[in-house]
Symmetry: C2
Subunit: 333 residues, 2 copies
């Protein structure tokens, strides 16, 4: 295993120490239990936006904590759900009296633990709502999932919903917005290589040198099909056509297009993919009104990419454009 | 070769087409000859800041074109210098009548071609100055270099000098600032794996599964030493101690610390490195007043990292903090 780490069991703690020092004015890192919260949390009168999940997908979610996006993130161990006590403590930290929204990716462990934390928080009279992202069109059920997996739409939801909370939308309206984003986002990804979880010390799976996997999950869960490597333009067709058909996205729709690296795929390849994806979108009459291109929801060092389309209305675009100040996404502040 | 590309010879053009579509309001991509310029270039009365070099280091330099940073970037083929005609055309595009500064990394081909373009531009009565970055303390001469290689300080210089140009500093003062950044920045990097240039189709070099190379260049040029892989904390010592000794940085100095991924090293490892680097800096009495952590000067998908320290004064910090709006770095606008 070739990684810039010390002991595998210290990776998360040492990385969190780095985050704490690097972004001291922006976030506070709590270590027992582990969560990352806005430095100024709780913000009185503001709905708290909280997310989390296994580590190894950085900058998601800890890198999205800050004004205009998340109030807190609960990182589990690498590819492992956070525990209810982490989530409950983070809920206390971000509860500004206007309620808390959990944004959860659809993985069985995440769902169970966020639901348990929600129950505990509600027992303390904290208003908690939860929206589950399940946007991955690749497979209907998966290794860690009943139903579809939650992937790229999560990042877009955290930005859009975070902006609404920053603008002091009330909880009910925010939940409705999050559900609108959930219902209108679809994704699919593929991988050229595996990744190696530090604790495991060896690749999660093996892909022969001339093969790729279409529809893979962000923890290396099996996708739709393994096949010989194809030219990028054909791969983009294989990812984007099922995404477009699924909603279905229709001629005249405005969309945000998110081309994501799973970690090991360089920017030069993402832009090449974006070019082809826009060509396909145009063929379907879709208008790409905003984009996000880069490694925002990774799978450690996995080489591969995913494409997310989100159908947006004017409100969502304004919220997308609103100022955000986080380690991972920053503009307008 | 596992890459998300079509034909190797089309990679750069297709990626540039993606950049053109993705950032249409921000930059204009010119294809013959190739350069990326601010959409509003030339800005009358403003010194034009121009950089460039081989592709494969994205987001550097094309991703740093925009208000507050570069006016244009000239990408060569992957790991290949841009040609004088590209640079000359880009010079015309950004010449707003106040002169043009070339920021050049110290590689022999880059130096020759930027110098030739500067001569041609001066023959047209365009005022051109050039500052060469040679901040890599690893080796004194290298495969493509007489003298030290130019690496991480380039990114910091482009931000700081770009902000000064945006504030309408005159050319002479900007050159002096760029020289101050050049003189006060030092870097060193290391690699865990090679990268594969699309045209070559196979890894640039081979590193056994249990070895790393300390002091490697951003094109895979040999470094100081190959050795067995060590814990990250020891690696950070091996990178940062020579950097600190070289200037030398001294107790009480304010520094910007830049922890860079060469592409394949995930963010979680960069933060772990940053943590240790700050500990070492503190031991030397250095004050880390700003930081940059991420894949900003890559070597395609190479796994590895570099650390840059820049000694800064108050002016440089204000310029670092000034608004910037580019695809690769964005804040405050």
């Amino acid at each position: 295993m070739k990684k810039l780490i010390n002991n595998p069991e210290d990776v998360l703690r040492e990385a969190l120490q780095g985050i704490e020092i690097a972004h001291a004015g922006l976030v506070k890192v709590h270590f027992d239990p582990v969560y990352i919260a806005r430095a100024d949390a709780p913000v009185a009168g503001k709905v708290g936006i909280l997310s989390g999940g296994g580590s190894g997908h950085e900058p998601m979610h800890g890198g999205f904590v800050g004004p205009g996006m998340l109030d807190a993130a609960c990182p589990g161990a690498v590819f492992t759900s956070p525990t209810p006590d982490q989530i409950l403590e983070a809920t206390h930290a971000v509860d500004g009296g206007a309620g808390v929204l959990y944004i959860v990716k659809n993985y069985t462990g995440d769902i169970l633990n966020f639901e348990m934390a929600a129950d505990l928080a509600r027992a303390e009279d904290i208003q908690v709502e939860m929206v589950v992202v399940s946007d991955d069109v690749a497979v209907e059920n998966s290794l860690y999932t009943a139903g579809r997996r939650g992937v790229g739409t999560t990042v877009l939801m955290e930005k859009i919903v975070g902006a609404a909370a920053e603008a002091r939308w009330p909880l009910g309206k925010i939940v409705a917005l999050a559900e609108r984003v959930r219902d209108n986002g679809r994704s699919m990804g593929m991988a050229l290589t595996s990744c190696t979880v530090p604790h495991a010390g060896k690749p999660t799976f093996n892909l022969p040198e001339d093969e790729m996997e279409i529809g893979i999950g962000i923890h290396g869960e099996p996708g739709r099909v393994r096949m010989k490597l194809k030219p990028a333009d054909e791969i983009v067709e294989m990812l984007l056509e099922p995404v477009i058909k699924d909603l279905p996205f229709q001629a005249g729709d405005n969309v945000i297009m998110f081309v994501n690296s799973l970690g090991g795929t360089p920017l030069i390849e993402l832009y090449l993919i974006y070019r082809k994806a826009c060509e396909i979108a145009a063929r379907h009459g879709l208008r790409v009104v905003r984009n996000l291109i880069g490694p925002y929801m990774t799978s450690l060092e996995m080489a591969g990419a995913s494409i997310t389309l989100l159908k947006v209305d004017g409100d969502m675009v304004s919220l997308w454009d609103a100022p955000v100040k986080t380690a991972g996404l920053r503009w307008g502040v």
